[in-house]
């Protein structure tokens, strides 16, 4: 009773403690988001001789997004971003699941588990920009890895001369780098999830004669579902914003064919936004804003799917 009285008395201080967060959020995140939406309606129309007038309306959407004026660059960038994400996420989740199952296998303890985790996670913490430039140089004509591939006859002398100008190769390599940087992280998250599953379930299964494989598919996987969903969505949202590595990887101008047009195989959506938002040669904030709005709605759709998928499970849980 006494306790309750106290919290009522002090309750109003809650607003004081939330104020800094919400003020800064309004200024640096919420207003910028609204302003970006607003900006997307300012269409910069060239009137010749380097002059332009600004027209309020749907010009950016009708011309650049859904029109022919930009060759549908936003859609090819979306396609490339999604392909890059899929190529890294599918092997990443499979590898992480496999390793997490191994590291939590009580019958087959691997010595030095801690060291493996530390080393496998390491690439995740290194500056992505550094990793991109490092790999670019390793796979260059004179790069160490290119030399190795040549000696092992994996690539021919001719191919080795311009690995990084080849669209699909560059795309695959970026996906590999992402995989290499993130599987350790996902693995650690999944291990923590598996450790959270009650050991009595496994004991009961063992008494009933379930094989390790059966235990994995009938206990581990179903109970890991919420964490797998969470991993999927955070990775998808992060993947949609992919920037650092492809941005530093486009020097070779690798091209792929998309709808009959040659497009840069490393051009992600955020790179496109940055190009029109910040690069002096191409500055067009309306166009950058329109692309941002498209990306925002795609991201929103992905998170909505997540909320729907998890909220139907919520009532069954006792806590939280």
């Amino acid at each position: 009773m006494n306790n309750k009285k106290k919290t009522v008395e002090y309750g109003k201080y809650g607003y004081l403690f939330l104020a800094p967060f919400f003020i800064v959020f309004l200024i640096f995140q919420f207003y910028p988001l609204l302003y970006t939406f607003y900006s997307s309606f300012f269409y910069k129309e060239a009137t010749g001789r380097g002059n332009a007038t600004v027209v309020f309306g749907l010009g950016n959407y009708t011309n650049y997004v859904f029109g022919d004026k930009a060759n549908g660059e936003i859609f090819s960038a979306i396609a490339i971003t999604i392909i890059l994400w899929l190529l890294n996420f599918i092997p990443q989740i499979l590898m992480s699941l496999l390793l997490a199952a191994w590291f939590t296998d009580l019958q087959c303890k691997l010595r030095g588990e801690g060291a493996y985790k530390v080393i496998m996670y390491m690439p995740n913490i290194i500056t992505a920009a550094t990793i991109a430039v490092l790999f670019f140089n390793l796979f260059d004509v004179h790069g160490g890895v290119t030399y190795l591939l040549k000696v092992l006859h994996i690539v021919t002398e001719d191919q080795a001369k311009n690995l990084l100008t080849q669209g699909w190769f560059s795309l695959g390599l970026i996906a590999f780098i992402q995989f290499w940087m993130w599987y350790g992280n996902t693995m650690i998250v999944l291990i923590a999830g598996i450790m959270g599953i009650s050991p009595s379930l496994y004991e009961a299964a063992m008494v009933d004669g379930a094989s390790p494989r059966q235990q994995f598919f009938y206990i581990t996987l179903p109970l890991l579902k919420p964490i797998l969903q969470f991993t999927l969505v955070t990775s998808a949202i992060g993947g949609l914003q992919m920037y650092d590595i492809p941005q530093l990887f486009n020097l070779g101008k690798p091209l792929v064919e998309f709808h009959g047009k040659k497009v840069l195989s490393t051009q992600t959506v955020v790179m496109l936004i940055k190009q029109f938002a910040a690069e002096t040669t191409a500055k067009d904030h309306g166009r950058a804003a329109a692309y941002s709005v498209i990306l925002f709605f795609i991201t929103l759709a992905v998170s909505m799917v997540f909320y729907v998928a998890t909220s139907e499970k919520k009532p069954k849980k006792e806590s939280k």
Partner: protein
């Protein structure tokens, strides 16, 4: 009885076969993690001409000439030197980390300790905005920075850290698990002020959780390329480490590989040392993501 012994026999056989395979695959993956960095550090000590001949596996003697070359390259290209870039990153990253972790704890404390109208809504809101990426509002952020005069200033990178929903989320999780509101209520000095109570009583108790979040806040800010390269674009003097790395990228046939690798190596070394010192806490911190739902 017999089925169990058969199972154990099978298990033994299985283990004898399976364990070496698992260990081998783990070792291969570890080598894959380390190999690019090994080549990086080796190449940093070798001359460009030697690096171009193939895969060099032993250290060379060109470390010093690579270093002087790297500094000269910065002067020639009129970009900041690597030391200046490191300094620039540090004076952005340290205040960012401090503000982010302090105010995340501040906000999480407000939600955990006080019962007020709109508390649930505020919490649901913070949870929801975790999903909104900052990249999509960059046009508006540029505008805000221009209007407030923060464009080209480091404050534009530092101040937004006060509203970091993910850090708030983890601090709230931490408080729910290992912080008792009763302690604060019992220790509350009447008339001492709630903020002072937070600073003197709650903060020391939250230190372990804050330390973990500080590591991740530091790493995220240190590695960030996107926002600094846009908001500091007009002020090359303030270029951060990832911006310096971006300036190192080159497709030029005449480029000096020794210098490039040395620049990359110098950017990796401090993080790597810090990582191996703190790895226990970092791996434990990553695990937190797995006990979320």
């Amino acid at each position: 009885m017999s089925t169990i012994s058969v199972n154990m026999e099978e298990d033994k056989k299985r283990l004898r076969f399976i364990r070496p395979i698992r260990i081998a695959i783990c070792i291969v993956l570890c080598l894959l993690s380390l190999f690019p960095f090994y080549i990086l550090f080796i190449n940093a000590t070798n001359a460009s001409s030697r690096i171009m001949q193939g895969l060099v596996l032993i250290p060379g003697s060109s470390l010093i000439s690579n270093y002087t070359g790297l500094l000269k390259r910065s002067t020639d290209a009129q970009i900041v030197t690597i030391w200046k870039a490191m300094f620039n990153s540090l004076i952005v990253t340290v205040p960012t980390t401090v503000l982010q972790v302090y105010f995340a704890s501040f906000t999480a404390y407000g939600i955990t300790v006080y019962r007020f109208k709109g508390r649930e809504v505020a919490w649901a809101f913070i949870y929801a905005i975790m999903m909104i990426p900052t990249q999509v509002s960059i046009v508006g952020l540029i505008k805000v920075c221009q209007v407030t005069g923060l464009y080209g200033s480091r404050l534009a990178l530092i101040l937004p850290a006060i509203a970091a929903p993910t850090t708030v989320y983890f601090m709230k999780q931490y408080m729910e698990a290992s912080f008792s509101v009763e302690i604060v209520e019992a220790a509350r000095i009447d008339g001492a002020g709630e903020i002072r109570t937070f600073n003197t009583i709650a903060l020391p108790l939250l230190k372990p959780g804050m330390a973990t979040q500080a590591i991740f806040a530091f790493v995220a800010s240190w590695n960030n390329l996107y926002t600094p390269s846009i908001l500091l674009a007009t002020n090359r003097d303030k270029a951060t480490m990832p911006m310096f790395i971006e300036a190192l990228k080159s497709n030029d046939k005449q480029r000096d590989f020794g210098q490039i690798y040395l620049g990359l190596a110098m950017s990796v070394l401090p993080i790597m040392i810090a990582y191996f010192v703190l790895s226990k806490y970092i791996v434990a911190g990553v695990s937190l993501g797995g006990v979320k739902e």
